[in-house]
């Protein structure tokens, strides 16, 4: 019996540790690298009031799209809120939004994982996402009642930039191509996308993998994310162990 074995068949127990109201970051861009099995399990566990950090919500039927459709998302943090059901909840005061440029989102996640407290970027400077005019919450009649905080600015090297803080999350859902029991992960092509960053930013990183391999099967240079960032590994639905 090895000391470290992050793999489990019991997806229910893994997902059970995520409480209502948790902050959860989800990897994936489109269906590429989207952890569908874990998102489904979370819906089946009937979790609600979630803060979801992901590039989009509702671009796909499953994943974050299902979470939104089932009304489980209290707050969305990301770049593309395109689920009509989420929009409706937003415009009737039942959900909130923090809209982020895509690159700022992933850099804030990386910063959280890398022990960087905050950073300056020119992205979003002099826009409504930085000047305190973008509504984060509406009342039941669709009137804005709260706004995203204005971002501090500073000129660096002659260029105006905004201050962006590290984005820490409680949990992350990650989709890998291959994983071993140490949690070493290998991704594949454009399915890598946000997956390393969400894992790094999370207190608890939960991975689903297409393939479960022996320790040593992934060459040292092919480990795209070392196991110390990973807490649990399950198999994607339909994948054979």
């Amino acid at each position: 019996m090895p000391v470290i074995d992050k793999f489990t068949d019991d997806i229910g127990s893994v997902v059970a540790q995520i409480p209502d109201g948790a902050t959860l970051a989800i990897g994936g861009f489109g269906y590429a690298g989207l952890p569908l099995t874990l998102c489904d399990a979370l819906c089946e566990a009937d979790r609600r009031d979630l803060t979801i950090v992901s590039n989009n919500i509702g671009g796909e039927d499953r994943g974050g799209g299902r979470l939104a459709r089932e009304g489980r998302v209290r707050k969305f943090v990301g770049s593309f809120p395109i689920a009509p059901v989420f929009t409706e909840q937003l415009m009737t005061g039942r959900a909130e939004i923090e809209l982020l440029p895509q690159g700022t989102m992933v850099e804030r996640l990386r910063a959280a994982g890398a022990g960087i407290g905050a950073f300056y970027t020119a992205t979003s400077v002099k826009t409504s996402l930085a000047d305190g005019t973008y509504p984060s919450r509406y009342d039941a009649d669709g009137h804005p009642v709260a706004f995203m905080a204005p971002k501090e600015t500073r000129e660096i090297d002659g260029r105006l930039m905004v201050l962006e803080y590290a984005l820490h999350v409680d949990f992350a859902f990650v989709k890998a191509h291959r994983a071993d029991r140490l949690g070493n992960l290998q991704f594949r092509l454009a399915a890598r996308n946000f997956n390393p960053a969400v894992a790094m930013a999370a207190k608890v990183a939960i991975v689903e993998t297409e393939e479960f391999v022996e320790v040593g099967d992934i060459e040292p240079d092919d480990v795209h994310l070392p196991g110390l960032f990973v807490d649990h590994v399950v198999l994607s639905e339909g994948a054979a162990r």
Partner: protein
């Protein structure tokens, strides 16, 4: 990312056949791309540019979701679930392509490593301001638009000169929420090629059949004509 968001607004093509089609705008912009360059093609007319890039030119296309060397769409039945572009279409990779995570992908944009970022536009102003992400009555989504206007060596906006109602998208000041302030280095429309010059658009080229009068009527912002222009 939905193609309906973060790109261009619907527009009006010149009725009398003057000027370029959408494809013509893309083709005209492509002529100015240096061979061997690295370019990101945003949603809208910029996506059409790929069709005019012959492989021998070795123009490598960056896709924000983590690709350099994005190729044509995948043939039916040959889609790879792990190869999609920024529009989430199943595409192919060209020889010499590389794939990486989103943190590096946006480092490439913000860090100034792309030669060109081509974007659609809803409005563009002669001070270089660009608005292309939030139109009235739509759920706002920003995607990578605000990142794409920061850092690339050249930021070109490709759009139709006028909206459906004939209103000019070439403005003194953008009325829609900005994507970036002062970021645009060149503008390609169905009526010509322009450079933001502060208080006016400098006319670089008129599209075939486009008169000076038509351009002035179609452009809200002042125009600055090159010396020898009639």
């Amino acid at each position: 990312m939905s193609p309906a968001i973060g790109g261009e607004a619907a527009g009006l093509l010149a009725a009398d056949g003057a000027g370029w089609s959408r494809e013509g705008v893309a083709e005209r912009a492509r002529r100015d791309l240096r061979s061997g360059s690295f370019v990101n093609l945003g949603i809208g007319i910029p996506q059409l540019v790929a069709d005019f890039v012959e492989p021998e030119a070795e123009i490598y296309i960056h896709s924000e979701n983590g690709i350099i060397g994005a190729g044509p769409g995948a043939a039916e039945g040959e889609e790879d679930a792990d190869i999609v572009d920024a529009g989430k279409r199943h595409i192919t990779l060209v020889l010499g392509a590389s794939t990486f995570d989103s943190a590096l992908s946006f480092a490439i944009m913000r860090g100034g490593h792309l030669d060109y970022s081509l974007l659609g536009g809803m409005e563009v102003a002669c001070n270089g301001d660009l608005a292309n992400w939030a139109a009235p009555g739509r759920t706002p989504g920003v995607g990578g638009a605000m990142d794409l206007v920061q850092g690339a060596k050249e930021v070109w906006v490709l759009l139709l000169h006028r909206g459906k109602g004939g209103e000019s998208k070439m403005r003194v000041r953008c009325e829609l929420p900005l994507t970036g302030a002062g970021v645009t280095t060149r503008v390609y429309t169905d009526l010509g090629v322009f450079e933001p010059a502060g208080a006016a658009f400098r006319v670089i080229e008129r599209a075939p059949g486009v008169t000076r009068a038509l351009l002035e009527e179609a452009t809200e912002a002042p125009l600055e004509w090159p010396e020898p222009d009639a």
